[in-house]
Structures are given as C-alpha cells and as structure tokens.
Amino acid sequence: MHDGIHVEKAGLPSATICTDRFIPTARGMAKMWGAEEYPTIFTEHPIENLDRGQLRERAEGLATEVVTILTGS
C-alpha cells in the first residue's frame, strides 16, 4: 500500500493488490497517507501457498481490474 500510494503520488499510475484479510490495514494506510480514495484490489487470502500455476491463474483473474485502474478507463 505504502509503495503503491507513493508511486501514484510521484505521477506514475499504480495498482495495488492486497489479500482480503488486510482490508482494514490497507484502508488505514491509505488514510494515513491522505489517499483514502486510492483504489486497491483485494483478492482472497492467502496467496503464499499457491504454486506457480495457481498464482498465474489468480493474477489473470485480476488483470482486467489492474488495467482499469492503471488506465483510468
């Protein structure tokens, strides 16, 4: 969250993905940095145990949302 918000503040579009166990923490960080509207993608927790194929599958499922945030369309 911290890095995504700062990249965005520096003028580079960013999309941040968090697992859904961290929704309050992510929202808290956004608020702390005055970026309450910062768009964050939440995905089901956990991802630590996913193998390469499963992780790719998860990422593909989020790709459209990432593009939407990055392009603002």
Partner: protein, 353 residues
C-alpha cells in the same frame, strides 16, 4: 510528520477514573497503566537528560516521529522508575535504527516481540534481573522496561493489534521482553563488548524475535549444546521457512538466533562464546528431505536429500550467546529471529547517561 506529536490533556482527580479513561483512549496493552501526568513526564525527561521535543527516531512508513516526550509518557504509563529512562531511550533508539526495520517486525503476521538485552554497569545499578525467572515475572525493571517498549510500539509507532500489527498468534513476550546478561558471573565476553562497546559502557541490544523455547539439558557442555542445536533446528520456526528469504541461494531465511545459557559458569571454563557459536553454527541445520516433507522446498524427496543439510544461520556471528538464567541448573533457551537479517537485524545502542 507531526501526527504523533499532538498532545491530549485531561484532568483526572481519581486514580481509578484515570485508569478507566486510559483504557477508553486505547493506550493500554490490556493491563492497567499509570496516568502520564505532565509532572511525571517532565521528571522522566529530566532523568533521561533529554528535551521533550528531541526526535529519538522515525518510522517514515507510518508518518511517525518518535519524540523523547512520547518515550517518557509511555515509560510512565508502563510503571517505570525515572532512572530507567536512559535504558528505555536506548531501546527506542535501537529499534528505530534503519537496520532494525521496525515496520517489518511490528506489522508482520509472524508476531515478533522486541527482545531487549541489557549489558554493562547499568544492570547492577538498576537491578535488572539476569538470573532466576529470567523472562519474568517479578522484577520491576525488567517488567516495566520491556512493557514501555511495547507501549511505545503501540502508542507512538502505531503498531496497533489488528490494524497495523497483524500478528497471527503473537506471544507473551509482546507484553514485556527484557533481560540482562549475568556478565559479572561468567568469564565470557559480554554481548555489548562483542559488539564494540567497553566494559564501562552500558548498552541495549534489541532483537525482533519469537518466544523463548526452553532447552532442558543438564549434561556436559557438548550435550547441552547438542540439545540447543536440535531445538534451534526445528521445522516451523521463522527461520526454517522459504518465504521472504534474504539470500535466495540459501533457500531458507537464515536469520539470527539468541541462545541464553544459564547455570554455573564453571561448567563452561573450557569454552568461549566463539567456540560455542562455532559448535552451534555447524549443527543448527536441517536436511533437504525434511524441508521437502514440510513443503518448505517443493518436490519429492530424492536420493541424497537426507544427507544434504541446510544451515539455518549464515554465520556463527548470527548466533547471539547470552549468559543468563537461574544458576540452579543449566537450563537454556533458543530464540529465533522474526525473519531473515535483510528483514530485521539486531541492533545495539549505548545507554547514554
């Protein structure tokens, strides 16, 4: 970065009302704390020799500047005596030093506590316990210095459980985790002198770590060290995992490990801390086969995996040996670091008086 420096004042004419009000403010660790009155905070700042506005350290990721006043207020709330302030300040400076990377261990699911190890003359002067019931309870200096560190984390560094502190299980050391080395009762070089300080200096070492794991072994030194190495080589610790490794070539995290060794120093007359570390470093390891069975490494166990060993510490110097604990028996403890050294490294700072 001024968000931590807003001051709230209130008038409480009754201690019980004050304690309840402090709960309502969310400033406690779950146990009652003392009110940080203006006079008391000023007294603690004077004892620490600091101006209240002095910046002790920063936590830029959370937009926090930690002032001496915040340290003093939390030391008062923790139940410290004013003369403990230099130790609390040194601990705060150490955990806010960049190599400690406080944002990591204070937020992680790994549930680290900050172990505070005190060395030097200040141990005797303040009566910090290094012997029986090493990890508590019962001694005011240990209990309240360790507690002050936790309250600083929660109140000044925003390590709020459930919000920015995302520990999955945490551990009891997160209430208080402060020990001293019994350096006057051993021929071993005290920890702070191994790290460049002199015998006349006092110092605090902070270590982001799991809970202590007791090692019961009362044989010869080799037997004791063999048991310590076995406990330190466990699967399931923060070190024996393949997530967030420091050195990808190692495959696992390879952090630091604190080992406390108690009992009678005479038993160790033929040993130095260096020889203890060498002995342990070569034995704190686990087979590739075990790491595969525990799915730390991928794949099935193959011929040769039982014999291929992976060290859990990169160097003997990553094992911090502390002579401490009751003298009744040679009971030891193993304390694995929260993560790899790249995530957080132990830091030692002088107690300035």
């Amino acid at each position: 970065m001024t968000s931590s420096n807003e001051t709230t004042t209130a008038n409480w004419d009754d201690i019980f009302n004050a304690v309840e009000a402090l709960y309502d403010l969310g400033w406690t660790d779950g146990l009652p704390i003392l009110p940080p009155t203006t006079d008391k905070v000023a007294e603690f700042l004077a004892a620490g020799g600091r101006d209240g506005a002095e910046i002790v350290g920063e936590l830029p990721e959370r937009r926090r500047e930690i002032t001496a006043e915040k340290v003093a207020a939390n030391a008062v709330m923790a139940g410290c005596r004013p003369e403990y302030m230099p130790v609390v300040l040194a601990a705060a400076e150490a955990m806010l030093a960049p190599p400690f990377n406080l944002v990591g261990p204070s937020s992680s699911m790994g549930g680290a506590a900050v172990l505070v190890i005190v060395n030097g003359p200040v141990v005797q002067e303040l009566g910090i316990n290094s012997r029986n019931n090493l990890f508590g309870p019962g001694n005011r200096a240990n209990s309240t210095i360790g507690r002050a560190v936790r309250l600083i984390l929660m109140n000044a560094c925003a390590a709020i459980p459930g919000l920015y502190d995302r520990s999955v299980i945490g551990h009891p050391g997160k209430f208080s985790y402060c020990i001293a080395e019994a350096e006057t009762e051993t021929h071993w070089t005290p920890l702070h002198m191994e790290r460049g300080f002199s015998a006349g200096q006092s110092a605090v070492t902070v270590f982001a770590s799991e809970a202590p794991r007791q090692v019961r072994s009362v044989g010869r030194p080799e037997a004791i060290l063999y048991a310590i190495a076995d406990v330190a080589s466990s699967l399931g610790t923060s070190l024996s995992t393949s997530g967030s490794v420091g050195d990808p070539a190692a495959g696992i995290r390879q952090g630091e490990t604190v080992v406390t060794i108690a009992g009678n120093s005479g038993l160790w007359r033929d040993w130095t801390k260096a020889s203890v570390k060498e002995f342990l470093h070569s034995r704190i390891r686990r087979s590739v086969a075990d790491f595969k069975r525990a799915q730390v490494f991928p794949g099935d166990v193959e011929p040769g995996d039982e014999e291929r060993m992976v060290p859990l510490t990169a160097s003997p110097e990553d094992i911090l040996v502390v002579f401490a604990g009751g003298e009744e028996s040679n009971m030891s403890s193993v304390i694995p670091s929260w993560g790899p050294k790249v995530g957080s490294t132990s830091v030692t700072r002088e107690v300035r008086r």
